[in-house]
Point group: C2
Chain length 413, copies 2
């Protein structure tokens, strides 16, 4: 039989397609380009010395060294889970180490929740726009998306209730300084969102990737802290509440290169999620978990402060430059934390075309917004990231973009 | 609404269930127990000094250090993929770096192939018995298993053809020193298996986890080297052949604790698999990949020799003790490599019950074989692993097991 293997493979998972934008952005390593594209931390701010010390301490203890390079349990390195439980406790969510599963960054946590909860044709509620990586993880399982709009206080409650009423299997939210908009779900709306979702029996996946990058005021309590109790749960027994699953990560607060994040989930979900981890890749790297545990123990807050000071300055530089250089026809968000400013261009401008011209004419890159919309609306939007660019370059890049925007708006007539 | 969240989660993924054996074996850390249970490498043999040096070299170069702790591309660290391509080339399979995706151990490679190729109700051909972790990865996607028997030369060709004729979506094999049996697919059968599968249009997943643990003679060529060419492929252009996807790992040849393995796949499959990786956890740890790349470059063969010398001695100790102490009614495999000896007990003995008594009466542990059978046959089988036990303890443990087997066989009457 003369089989066409290419066609055989290409026909599988037809719903999983490459992001053209990601492919385009791979080409942007050229130094003359000021890139606001990558939502990545600044490597200059990583706690190298502390990681080095943790590594040396690990190698100085033969038993720990052996443990670091052997297989570990699928749940994850227990001392790290205990640290995370204490840490979340200090931020309003009472959690036990047994409620925590270590994952390869929060992306793997999102993927596991998708695998657990989404089957072909299930309704999944996302914000318009929403994190691209979550959409990619969900899409592999074939959901029908219900997109709910946001305003400056986060997801809008009336359309959310209308969506919940349709019988969704999951509500996905990035409450703090969301990717891609930088918008934060307000303190007032948080209990209302959790209560609404609970009323309709819909689990919430709270993606807390940016939670520690808080530049103004105090961080808000996570949705997890408002979650409804599990029916029949024994009071005082360790188990998180029923309807919120929480995905955290050290990629933004520490380093992405060790790939350590975590899920917090109710026991019944956690039992399945541990099996999903086992079947997916057996366990997380023990070495990465042990090194990070050593590091976070004494420098977590200090490192968060350091990051916030640096990124706050960059955010301020970007917003000041935007106010100064962008034409009136452009709207932008004013994030209180995170890595992103979100732009709405005049109707008729297309983000992908603007990017093409921005690279060619003013040597600036960003991410066109359409990929963040499950319903493929939002062609006239863009995401700018300020986290990995120095303030001077931010000012220069925004000024250049302002010139282009002015030109393109005038061309629109 | 007073929803029962526990029931909501427990009802999801009902087909994913915990391995009772894995749960039982978790309790076996007691030092008085001689454990042949875990299929794990010996931490005493890990190349710590070389890892330490790689770490120091990485930290001595600021640009590489920054790269190590940042996000990487989903495909994986290119120099490591280039090394793997050269390495496979030396072992008979012509492969390009672009045909390789870095995964978190080979388990993640198996899971990705399952996600790509298996939908609910699809037929998947496995050997009877087969690697438990692969069955767990496949089962999440709801296949119908077709179990094919093996003999001392590996999978049996006539029943294999009968199975292929039924129209399967995947054939999964561990050709070298398979987990759990230690059996190797013979040199004669290899081209026949690949040709048969190609004739029926069924992709093969070749799990090469134990390939480098070869104790007698030379390693055999991988199935990948016999794979049929892709129709329409340009000769000389980098692309592996059509019908074999290959999962490799550094967990057995180097260390499991860094979680680095790889997939080799034809281009059309690779395009999808890279997207699956992106949606699953964005990328592998750059740090782990860069350290391993540094280490394998100059000590791979030396380390493989070191492991083979140590494990060969343990295998010999186990087989000699088995010949000496086991009653005639017990059959065992004589592996040429890997980590496992497989036992068939007399009909009527149940591996799980034998394990319970082995722990209680003679303080020896192993893995009962039933979990390795997709069709749940094989209750009278056991897997013994010799890789992490010293020869003296192996002899002692096998002698004790021999006593128990003798007792239990006599009780059978």
């Amino acid at each position: 039989m003369d089989l066409d293997w290419n066609n055989l493979y290409a026909a599988r998972m037809a719903r999983v397609t490459a992001s053209e934008i990601r492919e385009l952005l791979k080409l942007l390593d050229r130094p003359e380009i000021i890139s606001f594209a990558g939502g990545i931390p600044d490597t200059n701010l990583f706690p190298y010395d502390r990681i080095e010390r943790a590594h040396e301490r690990l190698f100085a203890d033969k038993a720990r060294r052996a443990q670091a390079f052997q297989y570990g349990i699928s749940e994850g390195y227990r001392p790290l889970r205990q640290w995370i439980a204490r840490h979340l406790g200090q931020h309003g969510a009472a959690v036990h180490a047994d409620d925590i599963l270590i994952t390869n960054g929060s992306q793997q946590g999102i993927e596991f929740v998708a695998k657990l909860l989404i089957s072909e044709g299930d309704k999944v509620i996302v914000t318009r726009p929403s994190y691209l990586g979550a959409l990619q993880a969900f899409s592999a399982y074939g959901p029908d998306y219900v997109s709910v709009p946001i305003d400056e206080d986060g997801i809008c409650l009336e359309p959310l209730e209308a969506a919940l009423r349709q019988g969704a299997k999951l509500l996905y939210l990035v409450p703090d300084y969301g990717n891609p908009t930088g918008v934060t779900l307000s303190e007032e709306r948080r209990p209302a969102v959790v209560e609404l979702a609970a009323r309709y029996g819909v689990p919430i996946l709270e993606d807390a990737a940016y939670t520690h990058l808080c530049y103004d005021g105090d961080p808000l309590s996570p949705l997890l802290s408002y979650a409804s109790p599990i029916k029949g749960g024994t009071p005082g027994e360790a188990s998180v509440s029923g309807n919120v699953i929480y995905a955290g990560t050290f990629s933004k607060s520490m380093v992405p290169g060790l790939r350590v994040g975590w899920l917090v989930a109710p026991r019944a979900a956690m039992q399945k999620l541990v099996l999903v981890k086992q079947a997916s890749d057996l366990c997380a790297s023990q070495y990465a978990q042990m090194v990070l545990h050593d590091v976070v123990q004494d420098v977590f807050d200090e490192q968060a402060d350091r990051l916030c000071d640096a990124y706050r300055e960059r955010r301020d530089a970007m917003l000041e430059a935007i106010r100064r250089h962008f034409p009136q026809s452009i709207r932008w968000t004013e994030p209180k934390g995170g890595m992103f400013v979100w732009l709405e261009l005049p109707e008729g401008l297309d983000g992908a075309e603007v990017l093409r011209r921005a690279i060619e004419e003013v040597q600036v890159a960003f991410v066109p917004g359409a990929a963040f919309f499950a319903d493929r609306s939002g062609a006239n939007t863009c995401r700018l990231s300020f986290s990995a660019v120095q303030p001077d370059r931010i000012r220069e890049g925004v000024a250049r973009l302002g010139n282009l925007f002015r030109r393109m708006t005038e061309e629109l007539g």
